[in-house]
């Protein structure tokens, strides 16, 4: 690794800041002795350098207190490359060769012998004994310390009895040390609702509650946990936590904010991965670098869409590179926030003030992502759709196989009929050969045009149009033919100087469109009893795309034969009757040429020639004709005979239909259910070199020294998997580094996330900041124990959650006792559970569930529950229409609501749903009047009260009390106490009084949710009551 960096960098040092040989002459030569680091170099660095380039301060992002830091260099590039002291920045500055910068900046310069020693040290390999840090062992920030598995404290027997697993040992010991006791286990109603909300985001049904409350077996709780972990809704709940981190949305963001109709496909990948309990290490690797995995499958490529959730700026006049770089910044910073719990963003512009992240390190991290291109990839739409496809494909293949067998069998019986056919065709072809197609003279030709067009008949019957040029025209040509048979007509078109662009048409570009061609024969000039000789076949020497000659005889007024772009040249089209007709004596011939396309697409100069004779091809395709020719030359030509047999099979009455059916069945082969998704793919052609951007400005790259992919100095180094030193580390190395055994930060951060989703707060309270300025963990040993446990559990998310929710700590009541309210109001000691306001989506899901309206469908395209029109209108130039979904899609879980970044659904944002523009590792829960107005008055919540009223009214209950109890339990699982019952009974009574007097109000409030057999005023009273129940604090809180 180190060697890679040096060799690549030294090249740039050479180019960028090479010393002239003249300047080199001013340097003292390297000391001619074997340098001893501890004796010769360490004191020198300690005295002159590390005060500004050490653990405390990193001027120019450079540290010279450890070997790794020293070799990494600073904002100006590497300090030196091993073996190249003369060309190094360090020697340039300490040697006084730079006109602007000398080091140290104050005080005496280094003496010549000192510079000579430094040079010798660099040239001799910059040896630095392991573990030596100049300025003493600096205190390592807790979060960067290696992970070791702490032993859970031993508890005295009285406490041990309260402990379910090691988590409790850590917590109980801390509480005891502070003279506090844990809170008792929460009641069963609370436990089942808590678990259900935490694991699935859905409340338990009253039946499920009853079953759990009644289950007195000792493992009832554990079985409940295991059941919930198996539910497919688990993937929704925990997938949604991940989507927050991924800044997932259904639109581009920025001004235009175009929809991303396929974004949901990756959302479903997340749900599936969580449901299948994909280990967190694999989950990490596939999302960061799935495309780089050997033999990556389509799902692994799809996983990289994690980093395609970045915004896309398609505003007019943007600089593409600026926004590409912006997206890469976001990938770097999101990775930092999600896996490392660090704000690396500060280092985009300058070395981090607090967190020991230099600007150079930022761009080394950036370099991993800089060659990940934004691409699309095909992926199956869903696992279910794939199953259907597989089934249908198999059936289809079977059907094909049967047809093929039938056909093969039928073909074995073809020979006798084939031979008869062969003989007949040979005969017919011979006859045709004796009567070839040839021109017939046309005499007495007269031509007239519609709309006053003058048609002049010139020499050889060539007709020239002139005079008025209407948009459409009909030409009628009349003449005489004398022949024994008539088989067709040739229409020649000729250029002429009198026509636009030399014609042959009269359109401004010289084109024409013949839309109709009709030929009639008559015994006399009057054409009173004329018969049509119907033209059914056509071919031409040239035809415009989509304007073949056959269009002229298809009976449609706007299709026809045309010749663009081959104007200014002669062409012809030949039209044939179905078969030649015999003529009895001389005939009058009338041809009507219709040109109704418009735009003066009419003929300018042309000639009509009647034809006689037989077409040699008899309607047979060219290869078949060739085969007959071949047999004429060599009667037993096997190849030709085979061709003919194949052709015959298509016209034979037994095999023909089979062949047709086979072709049609083939066409109907089921399509693989695929869609195109946005993914990241490694750039292979002309990979980008990363440079540090001064002040984070992409227009100001510091071109002297490239940033080579590398991790953060405070953590163990990234180890590239390729042994070839010329190959740089890539995203896959980065991903594996994140979850490598010696990287302590990601498991700490990950278990803290999990903990916060189950307790409302993390063990590290600053969930988004594990850096110097963040809070220390409330239970450091517990955090590390969980982090090592996560690895021990092979990164199983479900196993980790299981062990936490099985702990006594998790099961405590969330009621704050008098004692705890005084002693530990912030609950840092975990002497109780926390009450947690439900998330935006879950609040809505809960109301819809209580009402019985919720659709439990998992996955698929995002949906559009009703939203006021003026909210969508806020998006740029009203470019977005929100068309409300119909049917069950109105009641899908909140996480499926289409998320439009510039105009998100207010029901989501009002309850602190993240804006999806940047990563969010922690949701807030604020209390605002807009929230109250939403759950009181918003369409979906009112509909929930209506439906819930109908639900309880439609059930059998003895009295109001029973019905109120039922409604109450639908909301919060537990039965109401007498005060609560009294309160709601009072509201019900007051509502009844009102609605019996106000029928109109009753009708409006009940809306479409009348209950059969219940008066509307009674229904309304229940709607009014349910509405308030759905607003109880307890209802939108996980206790």
């Amino acid at each position: 690794m180190r060697r890679v960096r040096l060799s690549a960098l030294s090249l740039f040092v050479l180019l960028g800041t090479a010393l002239t040989s003249a300047a080199e002459d001013q340097l003292p030569p390297p000391a001619k002795k074997t340098v001893d680091f501890s004796k010769d170099i360490k004191p020198l660095l300690a005295k002159h350098c590390v005060a500004c380039h050490g653990a405390k301060k990193q001027e120019s992002g450079l540290r010279l207190d450890t070997r790794n830091h020293t070799l990494a260099g600073g904002d100006r590039g590497v300090a030196f490359s091993i073996g190249e002291s003369a060309k190094s920045l360090m020697i340039r500055y300490v040697g006084g060769l730079d006109p602007d910068i000398t080091m140290p900046p104050e005080g005496d310069l280094l003496s010549k012998p000192q510079v000579a020693l430094l040079r010798a040290w660099i040239d001799q390999g910059a040896k630095w004994p392991k573990g030596i840090r100049i300025g003493g062992p600096a205190k390592t920030h807790w979060a960067y310390k290696p992970l070791a598995r702490p032993t859970p404290p031993k508890l005295p027997p009285a406490l041990a009895a309260k402990s379910h697993n090691p988590i409790d040992a850590f917590v109980l010991a801390r509480l005891a040390a502070n003279g506090l006791a844990p809170s008792p286990e929460a009641g069963r109603h609370t436990l089942v609702r808590r678990l259900s909300l935490d694991l699935l985001g859905l409340p338990p049904s009253p039946d499920e509650v009853d079953r759990f409350v009644a289950d007195k077996t000792p493992d009832a709780y554990q079985r409940l946990v295991d059941k919930l972990l198996k539910s497919r809704h688990f993937g929704e709940r925990w997938g949604r936590h991940w989507l927050d981190k991924a800044r997932y949305a259904d639109s581009d963001g920025y001004e235009k904010d175009r929809p991303r109709p396929n974004a949901w496909r990756w959302r479903d990948w997340v749900i599936d991965a969580v449901n299948q309990d994909m280990p967190f290490d694999q989950f990490t690797v596939e999302q960061i670098a799935g495309d780089l995995l050997p033999g990556a499958n389509e799902n692994q490529v799809l996983a990289t869409a994690f980093h395609r959730q970045t915004l896309t700026n398609t505003e007019g006049g943007t600089d593409k590179e600026q926004w590409r770089v912006e997206a890469v910044f976001d990938r770097v910073e999101t990775t930092g926030a999600v896996w490392l719990g660090l704000t690396v963003g500060c280092a985009r512009c300058h070395s981090h003030k607090y967190d020991q992240i230099s600007q150079r390190e930022y761009y080394q991290f950036f370099a991993f992502y800089n060659n990940g291109d934004e691409m699309n990839s095909d992926v199956v739409t869903s696992a279910d759709a794939l199953k259907t496809f597989t089934r249908e494909s198999a059936a289809h293949r079977k059907q094909l196989a049967k047809l093929e067998t039938d056909l093969a069998t039928a073909r074995t019986k073809l020979q006798p009929a084939f031979e008869v056919w062969l003989a007949k065709q040979h005969q017919a072809l011979d006859a045709a050969g004796k009567d070839p197609i040839r021109d017939l003279p046309l005499t007495g030709l007269a031509a007239t045009g519609s709309g006053g067009i003058k048609l002049a008949v010139q020499k050889d019957n060539v007709v020239l149009a002139s005079g008025p040029n209407p948009v459409t025209a009909v030409y009628t040509l009349v003449g005489r033919v004398e022949a024994s048979s008539l088989s067709g007509l040739r229409l020649e078109v000729h250029p002429d100087k009198s026509l636009p662009k030399n014609g042959p048409g009269r359109a401004s570009n010289g084109n024409f469109v013949v839309t109709g061609l009709k030929m009639e024969l008559s015994d006399n000039e009057s054409f009173a009893k004329a018969t049509e000789a119907k033209l059914v076949q056509a071919r031409s020497t040239f035809a415009q795309d989509k304007f073949p000659a056959t269009n002229a005889i298809d009976g449609k007024p706007k299709t026809g034969w045309a010749i663009s772009p081959q104007m200014g040249k002669p062409h012809n089209a030949t039209f044939f009757l179905a078969k030649p007709i015999s003529l009895k004596g001389p005939q009058h011939l009338r041809v009507t040429i219709t040109q109704s396309y418009g735009g003066t697409h009419t003929l300018g100069r042309f000639r009509l020639v009647p034809l006689t004779g037989r077409q040699k091809h008899l309607g047979l395709p060219q290869p078949v004709l060739a085969a007959f020719e071949a047999r004429n030359k060599k009667a037993n030509d096997k190849k030709a005979t085979a061709v003919l047999l194949d052709h015959f099979a298509t016209v034979d009455k037994t095999t023909g239909p089979l062949i047709k059916q086979l072709a049609e069945t083939r066409k109907k082969s089921p399509k693989r259910p695929q869609m195109s998704v946005r993914v990241i793919r490694q750039r292979t052609k002309s990979p980008r070199t990363t440079f540090l951007f001064q002040r984070g400005d992409f227009l100001r790259p510091q071109k002297t020294t490239p940033a080579i992919p590398a991790g953060l100095g405070v953590l163990p180094p990234v180890r590239p998997r390729h042994k070839d030193p010329k190959r740089l580390a890539d995203r896959l190395d980065l991903a594996r580094w994140l979850i490598s055994d010696d990287n302590p930060l990601p498991p700490r951060v990950a278990v803290n996330h999990t903990w916060s989703h189950l307790f409302g707060k993390g063990l590290v309270r600053t969930i988004n900041d594990f850096g110097i300025r963040g809070d220390k963990p409330t239970h450091p040993a517990l955090l590390d124990w969980l982090a090592t446990e996560y690895r021990r559990l092979k990164w199983s998310r479900k196993a980790l959650i299981r062990i936490i929710v099985l702990s006594a700590t998790y099961r405590q009541t969330s009621t704050t006792s008098e004692a705890l309210a005084t002693a530990d109001p912030q609950n840092t000691l975990l002497g109780r559970q926390n009450r947690v306001r439900l998330q935006a989506e879950i609040i809505r899901d809960n109301s819809l569930t209580a009402a019985g309206l919720i659709s439990r469908k998992i996955g698929g395209p995002s949906v559009f529950p009703p939203m006021p029109a003026d909210v969508a209108a806020l998006s740029y130039a009203n470019n977005f229409k929100w068309i409300a979904s119909k049917g069950a899609d109105r009641f899908r879980r909140g996480m499926y609501t289409f998320f439009k970044r510039t105009a998100p659904h207010p029901n989501l944002t009002t309850f602190d749903c993240p804006d999806s523009n940047t990563t969010c590792v922690e949701r807030r829960a604020s209390n605002t009047p807009l929230q109250a107005l939403t759950t009181l008055n918003n369409e979906v919540y009112v509909e929930a009260s209506q439906a819930m009223a109908r639900r309880v009214l439609g059930e059998k209950h003895v009295d109001d009390r029973g019905r109120l109890t039922r409604a109450f339990r639908l909301c919060v699982s537990r039965p109401p106490n007498s005060e609560e019952l009294k309160g709601f009974a009072g509201l019900l009574e007051a509502s009844r009084e009102w609605y019996t007097e106000h029928a109109d109000n009753a009708k409006s409030l009940v809306g479409n949710y009348n209950t059969k057999g219940t008066a509307t005023d009674e229904s309304a009273a229940w709607v009014a009551t349910c509405r308030i129940m759905l607003n109880m604090d307890e209802f939108i809180t996980r206790e």
Binding site: T343, A821, P825, A877, H998
Partner: protein, 486 residues
């Protein structure tokens, strides 16, 4: 309620856990005369870093970026050079949204400028009404921004930096000062014209709690989303229902001792009061005929224009100006008045005529009205946009017919009035052709720093820690422009 309080008060008010929630209830109940007002409420008025001059702000945000060269910054030299190319040297490192550099030419302004008021500040003939307020206006002709695309530029103007996830100015000011209204949100947004590039991100609270986000008052239907009770639910039953809810939540609070419950109770009560206060606010019938006429509330669509607009923008914008006054009268801290769009890449003369015709009279009326009511001293009115427009004619795609201007962040104009700032003054200057700043540059961060200063807030001290960093409205910049302070 008294019983509940005596029971729980000690628990949640004396403990350090009470946080914001309990404070919310405390304040609410103190308003109801139920509790001594000694606890801190997140929205209660807060002490400032020093004596404030301004109490509220009306930010008139002209999304899309009007041309400063045709409204505020006369450039005779530019007119002389009309049709001339720019020196290559000056164009070298410049990026444009749409302009093609090789064939671009300078474009003079067809507007006539004349001096107004005693101060003699020049304004364009498109702004006769605003011009008439010249002696109250502080015109800044030397603003500059870092962003030249709309959405990032608008974010920079609202949040101090062109990136996502940050609080807007209105959020910061409410966060720093609290609210002086108990019936309305402290940060209200009024929109007219068409959807702006920034959409709802222009009044987001970013990493601050959503309590500090702007609440959009709508121009039709219910003034605030979900404000009205469901059809068929009378106010009497609403009150009865909320009483039951308060009782049940109160009991729960007594049992659980979670201050968040108190906060929730308070939020329902504020919601209830908003249900009365907001309709009263938007009902303009109590305003005199003279006021209606002054603002032009009942104007017809006089001219044609305003691409992509919704409804009668003459009326909606005038109405919003009058509403802004009514809002600050009622103690609302920050009003964001968004009007879009001024993005005149083409047909500038006609479109600018339309837009100025829509806004000129109501804005002048607002300033005069605030003044005559003695509110202008404590109300800061700010007129501005995300950037200005180029002195070059826009020749997008080599278009021969040049009728508009491109985006221009290097120098543009804004004006401010009241709120403890000087009037009748011009600050700074752009160069001869309005390309760059010639004198006294003011970065958007400086503008924000100075605005906060007028509110008694030190922009370096008004911070919020998020992800380990102490964020501020002025990002990493900002200097107070002392010259502006009256």
């Amino acid at each position: 309620m008294h019983a509940l309080l005596s029971q729980t008060r000690r628990n949640f008010l004396t403990s350090s856990a009470c946080g914001l929630g309990a404070a919310g209830l405390a304040s609410l109940l103190s308003d109801d005369g139920l509790l001594a007002a000694d606890a801190e409420n997140p929205l209660a008025p807060k002490s400032t870093h020093f004596e404030p001059r301004a109490k509220s702000c009306i930010f008139i945000f002209m999304a899309g970026a009007p041309s400063h060269l045709d409204l505020f910054d006369p450039k005779p030299r530019l007119n002389q050079l009309h049709g001339q190319p720019m020196p290559d040297e000056q164009l070298k490192d410049v990026r444009f949204a749409f302009i093609k550099k090789d064939s671009v030419r300078l474009m003079g302004s067809k507007r006539k400028f004349r001096p107004f008021g005693e101060c003699g500040t020049e304004f364009s003939d498109y702004l006769p009404h605003i011009g008439s307020c010249a002696d109250d206006l502080l015109l800044v002709r030397s603003l500059h921004s870092d962003q030249f695309n709309h959405h990032p530029g608008q974010l920079l103007m609202q949040c101090g930096r062109g990136t996502f996830g940050l609080p807007t100015m209105g959020s910061w000011i409410n966060y720093g000062l609290g609210s002086e209204t108990r019936d309305l949100p402290g940060y209200v947004v009024l929109t007219s014209g068409r959807g702006s590039s920034g959409g709802a991100t222009l009044w987001q609270s970013g990493f601050l709690p959503s309590l500090y986000a702007g609440v959009r008052f709508r121009t039709s239907g219910e003034p605030v989303l979900n404000l009205s009770n469901p059809s068929g639910l009378p106010p009497q039953l609403q009150r009865k229902g909320l009483d039951v809810l308060r009782q049940i939540n109160g009991d729960r609070l007594a049992e659980q001792r979670d201050p968040e419950i108190a906060s929730r109770i308070a939020s329902y009560e504020l919601a209830y009061r908003m249900q009365t206060a907001a309709p009263e606010l938007i009902d303009l019938s109590s305003e005199t005929k003279a006021t209606h006429e002054m603002y032009g509330v009942d104007r017809k669509e006089i001219r044609k224009g305003g691409r992509g607009k919704a409804g009668n923008t003459y009326q909606s914008f005038a109405r919003n100006c009058l509403l802004a006054r009514r809002l600050v009268e009622r103690g609302v801290r920050f009003v964001n008045l968004v009007y879009a769009s001024w993005d005149h890449h083409s047909n500038l003369d006609n479109e600018l005529a339309y837009n100025t015709h829509v806004v000129d009279q109501p804005i002048a009326a607002l300033i005069n009205d605030l003044k005559q009511r003695g509110l202008l001293d404590q109300t800061m009115v700010v007129w501005g946009a995300e950037f200005g427009r180029t002195p070059l004619g826009e020749n997008r795609g080599g278009r021969p017919n040049v009728t508009g201007r491109d985006h221009h962040p290097f120098s543009f104009s804004m004006f401010l009035a009241g709120g403890g700032l000087k009037g009748g003054m011009v600050h700074g200057a752009s160069d001869d052709i309005g390309w760059g700043v010639a004198e006294k540059p003011v970065h958007v961060n400086d503008l924000h720093a100075t605005m906060l200063h007028s509110f008694g807030l030190d922009h370096l001290k008004l911070t919020h820690r998020f992800q380990g960093r102490d964020f501020r409205l002025t990002d990493v910049g900002g200097h107070v422009v002392k010259d502006w302070l009256a």
